[in-house]
Amino acid sequence: ALPALAHAGEYVPDPKYLPPNLAPWSQDLGKPVGSDPYGLPSPFERSNIRRSSPGLTTTTQSSVAFSPLQNQFGIITPNGLHFERNHNGRADINPYDHRLMVHGLVREAKIYTMEDLLRFPSVSRIHFIECGANTGMNWATPAVPTVQYTHGMLSCSEWTGVPLSTLLDDVGFDRKRAKFILAEGADGSGLTRTIPIEFALDDVLVAYGQNGEMLRREQGYPVRLLVPGVQGVSNVKWLRRIKVGDQPWNTREESLQYSDLMPDGRTRQYTWIQEAKSVITSPSGEQQLLDKGGYYQIRGLAWSGRGRIKRVDISTDGGRNWRQAELQGPVLTKALTRFCADWHWDGSPALLQSRCVDETGYVQPAMAQLREVRGTHSPYHNNGIQTWQVDTEGKVHNVQV
């Protein structure tokens, strides 16, 4: 194991590597081309990894490893850093043995091999996946320090696969009677979720590709469901079965879990849509600003399960005053959008916030507004405005106002 990268102030660069001198790599022959037929990041990037939150879960096989958003650029999550959330560990599947069964209210129930699925007409789309429980630790009060833990059950990739509608047509699904489909995984949890037929026929994919290669095992290799804009748990991994039916299934993952306990004690069920949400990824929790008077571009991500992001505003005074940030194109539907805004830190305390608006006109709510409706035991669908405090020393903290 390599030693930890050392910290500020501990390193004095060796002048013999700096101009006017030459570093060794400027004179010595480098590693041969093809040294790594499948490449890996530089070891100097070894702090950029997924992490589990200490004490969050009692078993590592039903747990989550968060994506390091504090280090993320742009909108594409590199495959090795896509957040990982399993309910019975990561299934490592032999793709030649894997099968997808499609049956129920259909004319001809069928079984597909992976070979079959890769032969169907395919599409590629850039979409985020966000776990319904993302930011759940922040419901009552700040509980975790960095944006990796507050917002890291979030990733975005170019997904490739067969439109589910193509498979449903292939089995001759019953257009009159079909109202819902059930998606089921081949892992030990056999996780199931109900998908309404309107979604299934719209933009749901049976996906095998992730940023140009096959899915990662953590993301469901060799095939998963991709339900754009909907709670992560509906994007069933290690997909083995699709059943067409006329009633919702009320599975454990949409009754006991992933349902929203309201203040009056009742439960909202089938709350599929991940609403518009944004967060500043830099400066963010536990970073340290030292350059008083210096330029610190405010950078972050915005996304909406309802479609495209229309606009992001940022505030540096805790929401008293706002200004518009710039959106990085292309702005895509149900995908991450990167925003940026100029900021010079004058050395005094600040409270940084971002607030997004999506194409439906919906505005990201403040935490207080969310709690007023949802209470504090929900714990899903926390899309509230995130506040980062920059203190008098320039240290950044996860706070609420």
Binding site: G55, S62, A109, Y112, S189, K243, T271, E286
Partner: protein
């Protein structure tokens, strides 16, 4: 093959379907033949489940299975199978596909019926002489049967949400106070040196941290 007949996939036989078609709906569709009593379930639970869930399903090491009935509207809601679940058939479905945790799908139908009956009994939802089967299980009325509802706003892309924030730009609040933060010392004690989580180049320290040569 025509444009809409790709010639892909093979017909699934009824036998093939039967092996994988394990889902159970709230109305009981999908329940297999079989039966099991509370007493039978107690034995199976003790042997296969109690190690993680406690003899009375009250261990919170993993997930609490019983108790909390009526607590959901209080300030300390305890959500369990007993207090929260709306349909007993879902309990059968879940245990059948996902438990015991280290070796799922290993109980027979009879065993799943039995342990389902036992778990229901732990929350006093069924009496001690209850026998679960295809007919009786869908008829069990869970305490929280009427506790679920649909909120259309979050079921449709163009649904109406339950929050209505505005894009105020100026003087949006009189006063802003920090109402919550992480206690001093917590981060270091739980996470160690959190600076290790950042790319050294961008932790925004003027002096770049070193990196040991590999």
């Amino acid at each position: 093959a025509s444009a809409s007949n790709y010639g892909l996939g093979t017909a699934a036989t009824p036998q093939q379907i039967a092996g994988w078609n394990i889902d159970v709906r709230p109305d009981g569709q999908g329940l297999p033949r079989g039966q099991g009593s509370v007493a039978q379930g107690e034995k199976i639970f003790d042997a296969n489940c109690a190690v993680c869930h406690g003899t009375f399903g009250d261990s919170n090491k993993y997930m609490v299975l019983a108790g909390g009935v009526g607590s959901l509207k209080t300030n300390a809601p305890l959500s369990t199978v007993g207090s929260r679940l709306n349909y007993a058939t879902t309990l059968f479905d879940y245990v059948n596909r996902a438990m015991p945790f280290p070796h799922s799908k290993s109980l027979t139908a009879d065993e799943v019926y039995a342990v389902t009956a036992y778990v229901l009994n732990l929350s006093d939802i069924v009496p001690g002489n209850f026998v679960a089967n295809r007919e009786t299980l869908p008829q069990v009325k869970m305490p929280n049967r009427d506790g679920f509802y649909e909120f259309p706003g979050l079921m449709h892309v163009h649904g109406k949400s339950d929050t209505h924030n505005t894009t105020c730009m100026r003087d949006c609040a009189k006063e802003v106070k920090i109402t919550g933060s992480i206690p001093e010392g917590f981060v270091a004690s739980m996470y160690g040196d959190i600076r290790d989580n950042f790319r050294g180049l961008a932790s925004m320290n003027e002096a770049a941290p070193p990196a040991d040569e590999t």
